[in-house]
Symmetry: C2
C-alpha cells in the first residue's frame, strides 16, 4: 500500500503523492533534450522568463538558478509589454522561456511569438507535448507529470522546477549541481513520508486570519508558491515575499492573528536573516512555522517540518511539498474542496 | 489657507499635501541633469532596477515606462544575487538604477558597487544629495521632496516616479510624454482637492478583513504601492497585483470580507480587463472601489475617486495620491498612528 492510498482524500493529495514518480519520469525525459539545451549556450547572453500563476513562481526560481549558479543575467518579463502594449524590444541573444503546464494559455503563445519576432531564441517548459505553446517555440522542454486534475498545480509545478534546473545546468556547460538532481525524486519521497508533520501545521494556520510566507533567494519561489496555493485553495489572504522585503513595510501587518511560515534550505547564506525575521515575527505576536532550515530556525518557530537533504539551489524543487500538504489539509479543514476552488479553472485565459 | 492646513491630522497627511510643491521643485531639479541623462543613451542597451519597499514599486513603474515608452529592455534585479550570493554577472551596456529615498540603505550601496564591478553604468534616484548611495554611482539623480518624517513614504515616492520618467525621457532621445510631465504638479493639486472622496473610501475598507489592489501595466506600480501603504500603516493584510495574475489563483481569496480597489488611468488598453475583474470581484461578494478609470469602471464599483487627467504612462506619478489619503484615514480610523507604524523605521537596513 503506497502512502498515497493511505492518505488520499482528494485528487490534489493524490497528485501530491505522485511526485516521486512524476519527478523520476521527468528526469528521464529531460535527458532526451540535454544535447539540444547545451547548444543554446552559444546563442544567448541572458534569459527572460514569462509565466502566470504557479508557473510564474517557477520563473522566480529560474531567475536565481540562472544568475547564481550559471552567472547569466536573468529576469522576469512583463507579459503586457507584448500582449497589451505590443511594444517591440531588441531581444537578440536572449533566451525567452515561457512556462505553462497546459501549454494552452493563449497569452504565453502570444508572448512566445512576440519574442521570436523580437529576435529571441524561444524555449517553453510545458507538461503538454504538442500543445500550442510547445509548437510555437524553438525548443519545447516537456515535463512528464501526467494529467493534473486538481485545479491547484502541484506535480506540474515541481516537474517544471526540475526542467528549469536542467535548462540552467545546460546553460552552465558544466555540472553546477553535481549529482543532486538525481536525488530529487527520492527526496520527494522523504518529504512525503513526513506528511503527518506537514498536516499538523494546518490547524495552527486555521486559527489565523492571514498567512505570510517568507523565503529569500532560492527559497523565495517556495514561499510565493505556498502563499498562492493557500489563497487559491483555502480562500485565506496569503502573501509570499522575501524576508528582506518584509522589513520594508509588510511587517506592519504581522501581529496576533497572523501566521508566518518560513521556507528555507538546510543551509546557505540566507538562513541567519530568515531566522532573525522568524524571531521578530514571533515577538510581534504571530504564530511562526517553518519548512526546512536548521535547528536554530526550528527552535525559533512554534512548529516545524524538516526539509530536504539537498543543496540550497536544488532544495526548492521539492521543498514546496510540505506546503502543498498543508494547503490540502487546511482547505478541507476550512470546508473547501481543494480540487475545485470557487471561481477558478484549470486553464486560465488572461483577460 | 492651504488644504494641508485644513486637513492636517498627521505628518503623513501634511506630507501628502506637500506633493504639488515637491513635484514642481523636483521637476526643476531634474532639468539640471537632463544633459547628463541624455548622454547615457549611447552607453546602454538595457536597464536593471534595484530597490526595496516603496522604491521597489517605483522600479515597477520604471520597467514599464522604459520598455513601453522607450523600447529598451528593462527588468527588476534581485539584490540578493549581489549581496548574499556575491555572484558576478556581465552587466556591460546595462544601466543599473538603484532607488532609495534616504540613500542610506547599505544594501543599495552594495548593489551599486557590485554593479559597477560587473561593468554597468550606475545611476541612483535618491532624495538625499551627498548620501552614500549618491556618492557610489556614476550619476546621482536627486529629487527635491524635502525631509520626509512620517515612516510611510509619500512625497518621496511620487518624486522618485517623476525622476524615473525623466530618466526614461532622456533614454528615448525624444519627448515620448509631450508636455505631460509639466502638468504633473497641477494634477497632484487636482487630486488633493478631491481628498474628501478618497477619505470616503476608508470606512468601506475598514469593514473588510483584507484588501486586494489591482492594476495592470502602468497602473501596477500604483496598486502595489497602495497595498504596501495599507499593510504598513494600517496593519491590514493587503496585496497589490496585476489583474491578470488575480485570475491565476489569488481570486480564490476574494469574497465577502474582501475589499478590492482598482487603480487605472482614464484610458488605455488595460481598462477593459480591469473593469471585467472589478465586476467579477463584485460577483464574488467583495466590496469594490476604484481610483481613476472611466465611467464604465466607476459604474462597476461600489465607490470611486476620479483620477488624473494625464496619459496612461504618466498618470501613475500622481494616481497613488488618493490611495495615500485612504491609507492615512484608514490608519487613524483603526486606531493606528500613521506616522510611526509599529515595528517599522524610516531607514531600513536589510538583514
Amino acid at each position: 500500500m503506497t502512502p498515497a492510498a493511505v492518505a488520499a482524500t482528494s485528487r490534489m493529495r493524490e497528485e501530491i503523492f505522485e511526485q516521486p514518480d512524476t519527478l523520476a519520469r521527468t528526469l528521464e525525459r529531460l535527458a532526451e533534450v540535454r544535447q539540444r539545451l547545451r547548444r543554446l549556450r552559444n546563442d544567448v547572453d541572458r534569459v527572460l522568463f514569462f509565466a502566470r500563476g504557479s508557473s510564474d513562481n517557477v520563473a522566480i526560481y529560474g531567475r536565481y538558478v540562472c544568475e547564481v549558479m550559471v552567472g547569466i543575467p536573468a529576469a522576469l518579463g512583463a507579459p503586457s509589454v507584448a500582449t497589451v502594449y505590443h511594444r517591440s524590444l531588441d531581444l537578440r541573444r536572449t533566451l525567452v522561456v515561457t512556462i505553462s503546464q497546459s501549454g494552452q494559455t493563449q497569452e504565453m503563445v502570444d508572448v512566445a511569438n512576440w519574442a521570436r519576432r523580437c529576435g529571441a531564441t524561444t524555449l517553453a517548459v510545458t507538461n503538454t507535448a504538442g500543445s500550442a505553446l510547445a509548437d510555437a517555440v524553438d525548443l519545447p522542454v516537456v515535463t512528464d507529470a501526467g494529467v493534473e486534475r486538481a485545479v491547484p498545480a502541484t506535480k506540474t509545478f515541481t516537474a517544471a522546477l526540475l526542467a528549469i534546473a536542467a535548462v540552467a545546468e545546460a546553460l552552465s556547460g558544466g555540472r553546477p549541481f553535481g549529482d543532486a538532481l538525481q536525488a530529487v525524486p527520492e527526496q520527494a519521497s522523504e518529504l512525503l513520508a513526513r506528511a503527518a508533520d506537514a498536516d499538523r501545521l494546518a490547524p495552527i494556520v486555521a486559527t489565523c486570519a492571514s498567512l505570510t510566507v517568507l523565503g529569500r533567494g532560492f527559497s523565495l519561489a517556495t514561499a510565493v508558491e505556498i502563499a498562492l496555493k493557500v489563497e487559491e485553495a483555502c480562500g485565506m489572504p496569503a502573501a509570499g515575499l522575501s524576508s528582506a522585503d518584509l522589513q520594508h513595510g509588510p511587517l506592519g501587518a504581522v501581529h496576533e492573528g497572523t501566521a508566518v511560515l518560513v521556507a528555507a534550505a538546510a543551509g546557505g547564506p540566507t538562513l541567519p536573516g530568515l531566522t532573525a525575521l522568524a524571531t521578530r515575527a514571533s515577538q510581534s505576536g504571530a504564530r511562526t512555522l517553518c519548512i526546512g532550515g536548521d535547528a536554530r530556525l526550528r527552535a525559533a518557530c512554534d512548529a516545524a517540518v524538516m526539509g530536504a537533504d539537498l543543496p540550497e539551489a536544488i532544495a526548492p524543487i521539492v521543498e514546496v511539498i510540505p506546503g502543498q500538504l498543508l494547503t490540502e489539509s487546511l482547505a478541507r479543514m476550512l470546508g473547501h474542496d481543494p480540487d475545485a476552488p470557487r471561481g477558478l479553472t484549470k486553464v486560465t485565459q488572461t483577460t
